[in-house]
Symmetry: C2
Subunit: 347 residues, 2 copies
Amino acid sequence: MPARRVSIGDIASQLNLSPSTVSRALAHNPDVSEVTRQRVQQLAQELGYQPNQVAVALRRGHSNTLGVLVPHLAGTFFPEVVDGITEAASQAGYNVMICQSREDAEQERKNLELLMNAPVAGLLVSLASATQDYAPFEAVRAAGLPLVFFDRAIEGLTGEHISSVVIDDYAGAHMAVSHLVEQGCRRIAHLAGPLHLAIYEQRHRGYEQALRDHGLPYDAELVCPIGQHQLNGAAAMRQLLQLSCPPDAVFSSGDLALVGALQVLKESGRRVPDDVALAGFSNAEFTALTEPPLTTVDQHSHQMGREAVNQLLRMLHADAPAAVVLRPQLLVRASSQRIGRAQPLVS
Amino acid sequence: MPARRVSIGDIASQLNLSPSTVSRALAHNPDVSEVTRQRVQQLAQELGYQPNQVAVALRRGHSNTLGVLVPHLAGTFFPEVVDGITEAASQAGYNVMICQSREDAEQERKNLELLMNAPVAGLLVSLASATQDYAPFEAVRAAGLPLVFFDRAIEGLTGEHISSVVIDDYAGAHMAVSHLVEQGCRRIAHLAGPLHLAIYEQRHRGYEQALRDHGLPYDAELVCPIGQHQLNGAAAMRQLLQLSCPPDAVFSSGDLALVGALQVLKESGRRVPDDVALAGFSNAEFTALTEPPLTTVDQHSHQMGREAVNQLLRMLHADAPAAVVLRPQLLVRASSQRIGRAQPLVS
DNA sequence: TTGAAAGCGCTAACAC
DNA sequence: GTGTTAGCGCTTTCAA
């Protein structure tokens, strides 16, 4: 027989007080006398009183829950961001409700609706790749609900209560490619992602500009716009090796495609990084486990989550929205390090 | 100026009806006349009426939200389980609230409290590794809230509304080790996890029994109880290679330690699988990316999530609790395949 | 077939 | 200091 939850009314009647007094005592309202406060607190403790958050939310008109909507939880990126969100939210006394759109616009719309009715104090959203229609987000804006986009934002959508936290993809790609040039590479291929997605377009731009900044030509035959999967990376690498003048380095917009390229290079007898140097993007877990370990661009995913919560909290305190751009970090590993490295153990 | 949410009262007054009639019409209550129902539905549609779920939950005394509590979202396992949970819950009309205990008992207690007050219709929990005190779970049981443990359960805790869904770790380990024996391995080492955790203890038992079942001796010097990290696996492998009679195969209770072992083997000039065959546990993403790809035991994580929701739904429909044990699947890859494989491309 | 009224548990304005 | 009252939005008796 489950023990019925104890309510403020229960405490009130046991103490011959009114519910309001009990409520005030529990809230440390200074109006209530010290004696009463103590009596109430003690009994609440004994009875194991827990406030009914639903009633509180109904009364207040808002809850202390933040809604999170991510495309998926596969790979390492989104789980790490969510981790950062959870951590920061919990420190600020908020809890977190997580939904997945599974990269589907319709599912995304449903989840938005669900979260708005949950209800939540604010939303943290990373767009599904399939999203074309931004009407559901207009609805969020119309409702005046604070909204922070992270990683994947809607470029045009701004508003009183809309912020964004993204990474500087352009800078990340520029750093990686510049590094390859500094290691002596002169023909740097690019495994691009789908260029209609902003992040991949930016990385491509960073690649192109870095080449120009170092006086190297941009050669379209070195750019492979592929889906970011291992097999695609392998296929693209095979094609690149067929060129009359094959590349001496590869910069990939994703780590998975780069692993495919690495495998093809090793099969074909090329040495990495001596014959072909490699750099990727995302700092996926496995990049540290390959041989050689892969140079990659870290996206500060955990911090992105924390920062997104910060922005949301700011807006909840009626501060102005902001567009935060985080600077990524290049992790140089053996796959790209030609100069200044230790000698190999086996000659 | 955010448009105020439209409520049942708003619809009622616009239509000169009472709130109760509108509520009934919206709920497809057969008592209400067809005409009225249509008028109400239409206006609700036009005004974009969305029920306030908080009010509904307060009224009903329960919500349509399921609470999920996981130790963390790193790696692939828990995200995949959560994915399965989300999918199944959403199909059944429930939404999901996810919390992380970060492997910390105190955080776990707090989150349980939070979810119980959220409130949720039921709980899906995987224990934090640090949890010793099961009192918070007793409280859940006392409250009569349906609870499903997945992957990491409390062995002793049973009750009217407590189910569990776990994988058969013993069988998984037994399958992997039997496979190694069938491939001709006779001295099989074991990189065990911390044996005070049930899953690692079970895997160790499966390892031991598989040896006995094939008439092989159990040799304690081949068993390394280590933390499941890459460096630990590497260190353990180095030690194993020092033995006067080193192993011809390694079964690891985790994939990460196995990667460490693989790297040490390659550095030392051993061939995998010809000199030393390898098998791991978990089917981590990177096991398909190493060279050679690693044989490993898949835990059906996605299906575990779906099954956990099924069990919860059953209990919500007043069915009896159950203890479900999923059978894992051995994925044979090149790291263990000595016989019946294609000849290598390069001789 | 519809309406009036009560109440889920809590808080805040307003009395006293 | 404390109590009274009202109401958040919804559903569900009960009465008409």
